[in-house]
């Protein structure tokens, strides 16, 4: 899977590349408008991460270019502006998703994974992890082929875990993913959800993959 990170802030694009490369993505970076256009001209990407405030030009122009060329690259806009107008314009121009800075890498990773899943529509919408599988189209979870009944939030939580498998996810990132910003900083809510999810997976087939990492958060792992 090839990903292009168009971001003028080097430290940020490095972090993103670092995090994403672990998940079998090969990442390229572009730091300004022109180098971004050049890279796009010669390569196809599964997903393009696009910062819309770029030196040398408007990031939205790059998006327009991609759509004009009728390319299939997924586009995720990342912006420091968090402005509604940009979000609406971006999505109207055909971007697949929008994420405002600052974001959690785990959130970015989950969104990229979702975009790529949707792009590669040809059947492969099922994610496997050991004896567990998640059908993202039917929103169905099975352990050893037996379905597991999950509530909506539990399903979202599991999908988030699976997308960021074997990585540490902070409690903050989980809270924000499930309920948005306004519940941020309030961690006692996620604890109950995680406890319930873990119990259901255990009951279904000893799939105890959710590990609590002292003080930091959680990890979805088989080790």
């Amino acid at each position: 899977m090839k990903i292009l990170i168009i971001e003028d802030e080097k430290a940020l694009s490095e972090s993103i590349a670092d995090y994403l490369s672990v998940h079998e993505y090969s990442c390229e970076t572009a730091e300004n408008y022109h180098s971004a256009l050049q890279k796009i001209e010669y390569n196809l990407y599964d997903c393009i991460l696009l910062d819309i405030t770029l030196p040398g030009g408007d990031g939205l122009k790059i998006l327009e270019q991609i759509k004009e060329d009728k390319r299939k690259d997924g586009v995720l806009i990342i912006s420091a502006k968090n402005s509604l107008d940009d979000k609406i314009t971006g999505l109207n121009l055909g971007a697949d998703d929008y994420l405002s800075k600052p974001f959690h890498l785990s959130e970015l990773n989950a969104r990229v994974a979702a975009i790529i899943r949707r792009k590669n529509f040809d059947g492969n919408s099922i994610i496997h992890f050991e004896n567990l599988s998640v059908d993202t189209q039917k929103k169905l979870v099975t352990v050893e082929n037996k379905p597991v009944e999950l509530t909506r939030k539990e399903y979202e939580l599991l999908l988030y875990f699976v997308s960021n498998k074997r990585r540490l996810i902070s409690k903050d990132a989980i809270a924000e993913h499930l309920w948005g910003n306004e519940m941020g900083g309030n961690y006692d809510f996620i604890y109950t959800h995680i406890k319930n999810l873990r119990k259901k997976l255990m009951d279904a087939g000893d799939a105890d993959y959710i590990k609590s990492v002292y003080g930091m958060g959680y990890k979805f792992t088989d080790k």
């Binding site: 802030e9 509604l84 306004e182 941020g184 900083g185 006692d188």
Partner: protein
């Protein structure tokens, strides 16, 4: 004190003083003139009597009328200067003291000398003086009254541009984009005032906008370094060989960064709302939005053992910006969840007129009204920034909704009254 009251307080005593002094002197002068007139009449009588004596050699008959009396008294004196005087005589018939003007003069009737006395009643003259005085005073009082009233009317008219300017200033809002519209006036003082007001408001607005822009830009610029900090922490925390101490440090840094990030986002949001960047107003289906939001938190409430009671009318439409409506709902409901007891309750009511959320929770330490202020918060925990309610207040302010926050009967009650909600 009103200007006119202050003005009257000075002018009315002066006018009354002048009125008293002038009427007294007027009376005295008038009196003097009439006495002079009376004396002239007495001199005519005197001449007639002397003429009569010279022609006939006889004294005229004495007379004793009500308004004129003549009598003679023999005298040894051969020389006597004419003497004018005033005397008060008690009138038995009418039981009053009457003033008379009299003249005493010497009459020579063939070597026999008499002092002749002619008295004329002053009553009539007094009456005339009084009448004239009354009429004059009446006219003056009426004049003053007219002047007083017309002054009021005139002053009110004259001060109209001032009042207009004042009203405009009252309605003036920093955040509003429309300029202050001052009425044209041809009075120099007010022209000057208006110019100053215009200058000041423009300057204030400019400064305010600059400050807002600064806040917004600063918040924007902070986002990127914050993003880098957060992401680097996330990367670092993936490392397998961290000591417990490392983890603790990392955790503290992470929490601080997360809090800073939320703080920054809230401040940015406040700046944007105040800058009216959410200008797009539509008819928002508040019922639908509220239900959807509550559904999203169903599981969360369930996990915390919170009982949610809903009394939400269908198809309540509110004219406002959709994003702001969402922020309004989410801030109020999430507050009700956060500041609640395990096993507590939340009541959500919505009608076309109002939106009320009440929840069980610990008693606030400060006046509930103060919690609308920025950075006013009950808990010192990291999950509360003290900006949620002030964001809510800012939103209700720009739409002219009325908001109250009470703590009664162990419940926090936040109530918003819509003023221009329209039925679906």
């Amino acid at each position: 004190m009103k200007l006119i009251a202050k003005y009257n307080r000075v002018t009315i005593p002066i006018i009354i003083g002048i009125l008293i002094i002038s009427s007294v002197s007027y009376y005295l002068i008038l009196h003097r003139i009439l006495i002079y007139q009376l004396d002239k009449d007495l001199r005519v009588e005197q001449r007639e009597i002397i003429q009569h004596v010279e022609e006939t050699g006889q004294l005229p008959e004495t007379s004793d009328y009500k308004d004129q009396q003549i009598f003679f008294k023999p005298t040894e004196r051969k020389e006597f200067k004419d003497q004018y005087s005033t005397e008060d005589i008690y009138n038995k018939r009418e039981d009053e003291v009457e003033s008379f003007r009299r003249i005493d003069f010497l009459v020579n009737q063939d070597g026999q000398y008499f002092i002749a006395t002619v008295k004329k009643s002053q009553q009539e003259t007094e009456d005339i003086v009084r009448l004239i005085l009354t009429v004059t005073l009446l006219i003056i009082v009426i004049l003053l009254l007219i002047l007083f009233i017309s002054n009021r009317v005139l002053l009110r008219k004259l001060w109209k541009p001032f009042r207009n300017t004042l009203e405009q200033l009252n309605q003036f809002s920093f955040s509003s984009k429309n300029k202050i519209a001052l009425q044209k006036t041809d009075i120099d003082e007010f022209k000057e005032l208006n110019q100053t007001v215009l200058f000041m408001t423009q300057k204030v607005t400019r400064d305010y906008q600059a400050l807002k822009a600064f806040t917004e830009n600063a918040s924007h610029e902070i986002q990127t370094p914050l993003a880098i900090i957060k992401n680097k922490i996330e990367l670092l925390s993936q490392s397998e060989n961290l000591s417990e101490n490392d983890i603790n440090v990392l955790q503290s840094v992470n929490e601080a960064a997360a809090r800073l990030s939320r703080l920054n986002q809230s401040l940015l949001l406040l700046a944007k709302i105040e800058n009216l960047q959410f200008a797009n107003v539509e008819s928002v289906d508040f019922s639908y939005m509220l239900n959807r939001y509550l559904n999203n938190f169903d599981e969360l409430a369930h996990a915390k053992g919170l009982k949610i009671f809903k009394a939400i009318e269908d198809r309540v439409f509110v004219k406002m910006n959709e994003s702001l409506a969402e922020i309004l709902i989410s801030n109020i409901i999430s507050n009700a969840m956060k500041h609640n007891f395990a096993g507590g309750e939340i009541r959500v009511e919505l009608t076309s007129k109002m939106f009320r959320v009440s929840n069980s929770g610990p008693q606030p330490h400060m006046e509930t009204r103060e919690l609308f202020g920025r950075f006013k918060k009950e808990s010192t925990s990291g999950d509360s920034l003290g900006l949620g309610l002030s964001i809510v207040k800012t939103i209700t302010d720009i739409y002219g909704f009325e908001i109250t926050y009470l703590f009664t009967d162990h419940h926090h009650v936040v109530e918003i009254i819509f003023h221009h909600s329209i039925p679906g």
